[in-house]
């Protein structure tokens, strides 16, 4: 269901909720057709499709017929969909043509009588006409991101919405206000927002616009609206069971399940490594202190032994850095992809439901047609359209997700390798400088005994 913002400029009213301006144009019929957008970043692109039954393609060309269910329009759309796929793969190549940049940073703690919470600065830079100003800077808290995601999920059910970091943390176990936790969460929120902003359809969603620009997110109002619409969507799709998921989606589902398993395994391995490294660190520190202790009872050997103790201590520091890096970078991304997989599986389910509804209605209609000689109702054709659109969106998002996943993991694993290389290099240089110190020491002492 699209709650579309009206095209063209709309003066921003600081006190009115952007949604309120659109209520009148709200379409009573759940309509998913407007979501078939081409990622065309030219300035003539519009936000979500027009409120009524009007479907508009993002390049500004309206479809010929008013009814989206006609065969020719369907054909047009299918043809465009092929282009759509080709274009989405170019997403990462076209960063020069991006016109929406978002960042999440600068966490700050807010203490009030009722609660304590963290807000983050959300900065936006854009040349899109949907935005009144080229720059925005405001503060948002996790709740606001959660709101945004919910709205996106409900308003764009055919699309894969990126995951948010975990909402709930056990109060006793994790410190919600620790630097580490806040830092990790902020990076995940930044990733989330960037992914939404980079998505050819989601980035034009008016809720995103509101999130980025409105001083005050009137969430309760939106929520009420949402439930009404959300319900109707559920009612529409409910009650139909899919007989057979087409093989291409089965493959996707299987992939997701297996990949999920692998992610879980990697998470466990990473945690095990961290545990072993921590225990190693404990023993290594003790080991270093024994050298320092020994140095105390010697005289000629004091400096060499202290040197070794110092070296061991440096290696401990390097190991600490390595462990910290791993836990801050590797684990969050693994967990994020687990959440991503969950989202994707949900989208697959919704797609199945949509197809089930279509097939169900079609069956009923065919039977009726045979009996009563009535033509296939518009309802069924709308369902068919929905399914087609859903499939197209899903496939496009799947490709985009695969591409992102490849990039993300390549970067993540490379970074992990880099951290390990860094660790060994630090240790190596510490030992190398010790060797030259020890050898100098040795030379000094040989000279002394020779001189006597």
């Amino acid at each position: 269901m699209i709650v579309g913002a009206p095209r063209g400029l709309q003066p921003v009213n600081g006190t009115t909720h952007p949604l309120s301006a659109v209520q009148e144009t709200l379409s009573p019929v759940p309509d998913v057709t407007a979501s078939c957008h081409i990622p065309n970043s030219s300035s003539s692109s519009s936000g979500g499709g027009g409120g009524d039954k009007e479907v508009v393609l993002t390049n500004g060309k309206p479809i010929e017929t008013s009814s989206p269910a006609s065969a020719s329009s369907l054909l047009n759309r299918l043809q465009l969909d092929d282009d759509l796929e080709a274009d989405t793969l170019d997403l990462y190549a076209s960063t020069e043509t991006r016109d929406l940049f978002v960042t999440v940073d600068d966490p700050k703690k807010h203490v009030s009588t009722m609660e304590t919470y963290i807000t983050y600065r959300v900065s936006t830079k854009t040349s899109r006409i949907e935005f009144d100003l080229p720059e925005y800077n405001l503060r948002r808290r996790y709740q606001d991101f959660d709101w945004l995601r919910m709205k996106l999920e409900d308003s764009q059910p055919t699309h894969l919405i990126p995951p948010l970091p975990e909402k709930f943390v056990m109060k006793g176990v994790v410190d919600r206000f620790s630097e580490e936790f806040v830092e990790t969460r902020m990076k995940a929120l930044d990733k989330f927002l960037k992914r939404v902003a980079d998505h050819p359809v989601l980035s034009f969603n008016p809720h995103l616009n509101a999130f980025l620009t409105a001083k005050d997110l009137n969430k309760r109002q939106g929520l009420a609206l949402l439930t009404k619409v959300g319900e109707s969507v559920k009612q529409a799709a409910g009650g139909y069971k899919l007989r057979a998921r087409p093989p291409e989606y089965c493959v996707m589902g299987e992939y997701l399940d297996t990949f999920n398993q692998k992610l879980g395994t990697m998470d466990r391995i990473a945690q095990r490594i961290l545990k072993e490294q921590t225990e190693y660190l404990v023993e290594l520190r003790e080991y270093g202190s024994v050298y320092a202790g020994w140095a105390g009872s010697e005289d000629a050997l004091t400096r060499p032994l202290e040197g070794v103790a110092g070296c061991v201590s440096t290696c401990c520091g390097a190991m600490e850095d390595l462990s910290e890096g791993m836990s801050q970078e590797l684990l969050p991304v693994l967990r994020e992809y687990v959440l991503y997989i969950e989202s994707m599986k949900n989208v697959l389910k919704k797609r199945d439901q949509s197809q089930a509804e279509y097939e169900g209605r079609l069956e009923a209609a065919v039977i009726r047609k045979q009996e009563e000689k009535t033509p296939v109702p518009v309802e069924v054709e709308k369902c068919q359209d929905r399914v087609e659109c859903f499939n197209a969106d899903l496939k496009a998002d799947w490709e985009r997700w695969q591409s992102n996943k490849r990039q993300d993991f390549r970067q993540l694993l490379t970074s992990m390798a880099d951290k390990n290389i860094n660790y060994f290099e630090k240790c190596q240089s510490a030992w190398e400088s010790l060797v030259s110190q020890l050898q100098d020491d040795q030379a000094e002492n040989t000279n002394e005994t020779n001189c006597d």
């Binding site: 490594i273 020994w294 060499p304 490849r406």
Partner: protein, 437 residues
């Protein structure tokens, strides 16, 4: 100023050595230079070349398997025509080395005698074998035995010992002299008695400090060896867990199209990384052996200090005995009883003894006093000889220890560098694979 007079038994008969110097250090060096030219090692090359397993009957007539070590000796100087003689060799087992060392300990109480490699594998980290028949253990023991022989044959005092020479060259050396074995056992029990506590009034302060130092050395080296074993265990764990990445990358690569190859080869590198720790830790054992040598050396140093205490104690006892005898004589001569004695009591109770009896007793006492004075002289001389010789050897030991430990630390650091380089290499290879994903 040091004045040293000692009689040293050598294979060539006794050699009397005297040295006078104005400074302690110079004196030691002077002595050493006198010794070096006659060290066994300067004439004879000694090595422990091979090992073999044997089967035989032990003391309780039971079958056992043991390892023998090939002791090779060859003159340092080549023949007149420049050729090298083939080495002489004989097989010895570990227990024979032990007998040799016990003999040296007893015979040269002023020397810090080099230790043997450990009898049983101690301070093992979990994967390292504690089995005496394990080939790696046997190899390390071979190296340790060679080190022991090279140390004793280059020692200024020990190298002249005839039994040592026989050990190196004659097959029947240790078994052909059962008598000497008994002597060894007697002397050994005397050494054991050293562990009993006794109070010494005036020990040489330097030896008190040395004993304290030997305790410290022992404590620090054993702490270090234990900590090292724990670190090795943990490091092993860290490396091995990375092997799991190998497996999961391999499984994951099956799912992927473009990422598959990169993941697969990265997985192989992770497997190699996990496997590399075995060799790394095995090589690191050499450092452990170097530390162990000095752990055992600490005990040898301590024994020298204890010997000083014992001889000082015996001297003090002899002095005390002499003093009491002299006091008795005085009392007898003057008739005054200053100290409580049974004789004094009985004479008080039952009357003085007859003059003849008194004369006889006085005569006996005089003799005892003469003997006592001689005993004190002997003990004093013994003590001084020991102190002189021991102090020289302790200095030698200290210098050797400083050199050896410094070298061991350098070796250790070089090993760490090599390990880091391997790590960098392996992760760089893995990174290459990731970049291809």
């Amino acid at each position: 100023m040091i004045l040293l007079a000692s009689s040293i038994p050598t294979a060539l008969g006794s050699v009397k050595l005297t040295a006078v110097s104005t400074e302690q250090n110079n004196g030691w060096n002077h002595l050493t230079s006198l010794y070096i030219s006659t060290n066994l090692s300067s004439r004879l090359e000694v090595s422990v070349a091979e090992t073999e397993k044997r089967n035989g009957k032990n003391a309780m007539n039971m079958q056992e398997t043991f390892t023998v070590y090939l002791v090779e000796t060859r003159p340092v100087e080549p023949l007149a025509d420049g050729r090298q003689l083939a080495p002489d060799s004989l097989w010895r087992r570990y227990s024979e080395f032990e007998i040799l060392r016990s003999y040296l300990l007893v015979t040269y109480p002023a020397v810090v005698v080099s230790p043997l490699p450990e009898k049983r594998a101690e301070f093992v980290w979990h994967k390292l074998s504690a089995d005496n028949m394990d080939p790696d253990f046997v190899e390390r023991r071979r190296v340790g035995l060679e080190n022991f022989l090279q140390r004793v044959t280059s020692h200024p005092v020990l190298s002249h010992d005839s039994l040592l020479y026989q050990f190196l060259t004659e097959v029947s050396a240790t078994s052909s002299r059962p008598g000497s074995h008994d002597e060894l056992m007697k002397a050994d029990s005397r050494l054991r008695a050293l562990s009993a506590t006794f109070r010494v009034r005036n020990p040489d302060r330097r030896f008190v400090e040395m004993k304290h130092y030997s305790d410290e050395l022992q404590s620090h080296t054993s702490q270090l060896l234990r900590a090292r074993a724990r670190v090795a265990d943990r490091l092993y764990g860290v490396y091995k867990v990375h092997g799991n990445y190998g497996r999961v990358f391999s499984e994951w690569s099956v799912l992927e199209k473009q990422m598959g190859d990169g993941l697969q080869s990265a997985g192989h590198h992770m497997d190699a990384y996990a496997a590399s720790i075995d060799d790394i830790l095995e090589e690191a054992e050499h450092y452990g052996d170097q530390l162990k040598e000095y752990l055992f050396y600490a005990e040898a140093l301590r024994a020298v200090c204890r010997k000083h205490e014992l001889s000082q104690y015996e001297l003090e006892l002899a002095c005390q005995d002499l003093l009491s005898k002299k006091q008795q004589r005085e009392e007898l001569a003057t008739g005054s009883v200053r100290t409580f004695s049974l004789k004094g009591m009985t004479s008080k109770l039952f009357g003085q003894e007859a003059p003849e009896q008194r004369e006889a007793r006085l005569h006996l006492l005089e003799e005892q006093i003469r003997e006592g004075e001689q005993a004190v002289e002997e003990r004093r001389s013994e003590c001084q000889v020991h102190v002189g010789g021991a102090w020289v050897d302790v200095q030698r030991f200290r210098q050797q220890k400083d050199r050896d430990i410094r070298e061991a630390l350098i070796g250790y650091a070089l090993m760490q560098i090599s390990m880091c380089k391997k790590g960098v290499q392996m992760w760089s290879n893995t990174k290459e694979c990731f970049l291809k994903m």
